[in-house]
Symmetry: C2
Subunit: 454 residues, 2 copies
């Protein structure tokens, strides 16, 4: 039985990825059913990037904590209403609220289309903490509903969310303890880079306890037992009002009927190829629910790929540009590409003390680092780390340079405005040029040997 | 009579350009006599970039004005002492204090070398203001010696120095009026860009009076008569404590013996070619005293050119990269390349309201603009303007992209971290792509016609 399509495409989930795809396809004249089970804007607008950045900004204003939290909610809700209005009235977009389930042959419940794009996002991983009552257990889903700053908050997980919220709530006056099973905070960053954030957050009065996990909560003493992973508790944190659990995300891939259609997943994430396609014809995935997710800009970038390949099916997938990642602590901590802890032999690493930059001197910035890994001889930049003021913009310089394939010796001669923070990159390039020139013969030999081995 | 060289090179002036050349040549094993008539570090360290950025930063701390000004001097002097110690003890650099005069045949007073590099910088243009007593007349040379914030300051000249100091002293509590003969502040910027700074500085309580010049000061009423250039006074500013004159720079090219050697100048600036050479063999010039000066990073960039061509005389001059310029007002205002007021027919201009960026929303930034001029069809970026937070770093993205020749359509696909301020560039590129795609046929035709005409 053939049933007619109700739309050209069905997008499940109106978060960053889904909205990108829906808006993009609609501008190409495609009719799109956009189905949202919860709130338009998804995690980013409602419980992620937007309220966290609002909170990081407003926590610096000196306003009372309750007022700050109220302002954050108000501004967040205003933005969501704006998005609801905008996308609810966009030509070709049919915004519907409810849960969707794929039932085969291009149909989602009662809708049908040639293309179904799954963009259902992710949810916080709800690590169990023995004995912790529900009203003291927070994730980012609940955090922004607080109406007052807690007196004392333990944050389980020293990743981007945990560290950003540590900074914001510390500014509001909350006593903060951060745990992480890993031996350092921001475990995905290079140790020297994470150490900068460790020092600056410690100087703010945040207590960092890396290498420790939560073992259990005692409601009578309102204390949290902590210890090494797999070992017995070794310490207790007293007077704990709330615990913020920020230990990663789980993809929202349940209940969509993926198994019925045989859509391949990897640890719950929908496996996609370089065009954003799943293994089932006509079914695509973008964002956190896919294997290429994790950030709003990733959802956006992959959403654009999906649009391109739906509109122009024969277009090649093209190269996958490196994705930057920024943690908006104070200072910001940003990375792009690979940052191996052990530097491979064919890679030259330049590590620059960002506090030596002239602008750091004038602005009283006493800590920071820029680390760039460059393939020897070819000069290809394989990764970079910036921890310091405006790191989000400085890492973007690498994002463009790496995307455009600008070899690092070709950065030489770029004029950086003095005394911007970008001027520090001039010093980094200088160090690289000096180091590279000294070893041109040995690098050439190494490169030639590599070529011969192939 | 042949006299032996005393050094390989003589550098006259130990400011940004001279220090760059001296240090660079010394690392290549050349012996350098470095002659400074006043203070090591030149204008940048002593009366320019460094104290102005120190003041812009420290004026935000809420400290008392007198303490802020004292801290600025202390930090500035610390840096100068550090530079004096460093360069005074660098191998191959012979730092001497005094005035230098070229007397022909590679000799400067009693010194002699194959290369003489003139890097004597510039001084503030001392526009006369009738009746204004010396103790009320300030330029950037005297400004940082103030021990208290004046109650009321008139700033003559709304260029970068004038506008930066307006912001800094306004923060310290000074009542500020800014005049400029031009019909807008920041006369070198596009009107839409300068208008952002006009609105934000006005909102700070700074009074802007473009289109007016100072006609004369009345010491009895301590008032300044102002009016249009060439016309009679039309208004008076009362209770003026000091007047800061910031109406451009004059090159320090007097007394060097340039005429005796026949060194070519243009309105006092020493004319240099693409390698930094004057018309006289062995005599070079860099920085503000040359025709390629005006900023510390220009002095630095041209200093590097001179080093290269002294060390490797046969190397080609190479392309001249575009130089960015940043005014560190709040927000920062930055430009690079050409920004014609009238957009030529073969140029596409994208103008983006920076306050529409998501980060601007979270951070409460309500004003800003990004303007990019792109050659039609080729996609070559010919200029850009950024007024908004972190403009100094955002313009640096253009600096690298333009230096590396990355066409603007090749920027598409770069992943900008969300929600950094750089994410706004993604929106700018999107706007460009949409506009460019719509007009590919007409642009191709235009391009072909241009080719045929050649």
């Amino acid at each position: 039985m053939t049933t007619e399509n109700t739309h050209d495409a069905i997008v499940i989930g109106a978060g960053s990825g889904g909205l990108t795809v829906a808006v993009g396809l609609s501008t190409f004249g495609k009719s799109v059913a956009l189905i949202e089970a919860n709130l338009v804007g998804g995690d980013c607008t409602n419980v992620g990037c937007i309220p966290s950045k609002l909170l990081l900004h407003h926590s610096t204003t000196g306003a009372l904590a309750g007022d700050v939290l109220s302002t954050v909610r108000q501004r967040r809700d205003d933005l969501r209403k704006h998005e609801e209005d905008e996308y609810g009235t966009t030509d070709n977009i049919d915004l519907r609220y409810g849960h969707a389930r794929l039932v085969g042959d291009g149909a989602v419940t009662s809708l049908r289309a040639d293309h179904v794009i799954i963009s259902t996002g992710s949810s916080p991983r709800r690590l169990a903490v023995d004995g912790l009552p529900g009203d003291r257990y927070l994730t980012n889903d609940e955090l922004f509903e607080l109406t007052e700053a807690p007196a004392k908050m333990v944050i389980v997980g020293a990743g981007p969310i945990g560290m950003e919220m540590a900074v914001a709530f510390r500014r509001l006056g909350t006593e903060i303890v951060v745990l992480d099973a890993a031996p350092q905070i921001l475990p995905l960053m290079l140790p020297d880079a994470a150490a900068v954030v460790a020092r600056t957050t410690t100087a703010m009065g945040i207590k960092l306890m890396p290498g420790l996990v939560a073992h259990g909560f005692d409601v009578d003493t309102i204390s949290l037992a902590v210890g090494p992973l797999g070992g017995p508790p070794t310490d207790a944190i007293n007077d704990v009002d709330v615990v913020l659990v920020a230990v990663g995300r789980v993809p929202n891939s349940e209940g969509l009927g993926l198994e019925d259609l045989g859509i391949e997943t990897d640890r719950g994430r929908i496996v996609i190829d370089g065009k954003g396609r799943t293994n089932v014809d006509g079914v695509w995935a973008v964002g956190d629910v896919s294997t290429e997710g994790a950030t709003t800009h990733a959802a956006n970038a992959w959403g654009r790929r999906v649009i391109k390949h739906i509109v122009a099916p024969l277009a090649p997938a093209g190269a996958r540009p490196d994705h930057p990642a920024v943690t908006y602590t104070s200072p910001e901590a940003a990375t792009i590409g690979d940052q191996p802890v052990e530097v491979p032999g064919d890679v030259r690493r330049i590590s620059y003390d960002f506090s030596k930059a002239d602008r750091a001197y004038t602005d009283g910035v006493e800590d920071g680092v820029i680390i760039v890994d460059i393939r020897r001889f070819s000069g290809k930049v394989i990764g970079a780390t910036v921890v310091g003021p405006r790191a989000g913009e400085l890492i973007s310089i690498f994002s463009l340079g790496m995307k455009a394939g600008v070899r690092f010796h070709k950065w030489y001669g770029t004029v950086w405005p003095y005394p911007s923070y970008a001027d520090a990159l001039g010093a980094v390039v200088d160090e690289y040029m000096v180091a590279a020139m000294k070893s041109v013969p040995s690098d050439a030999l190494r490169w030639a040997r590599g070529q011969l081995r192939r």
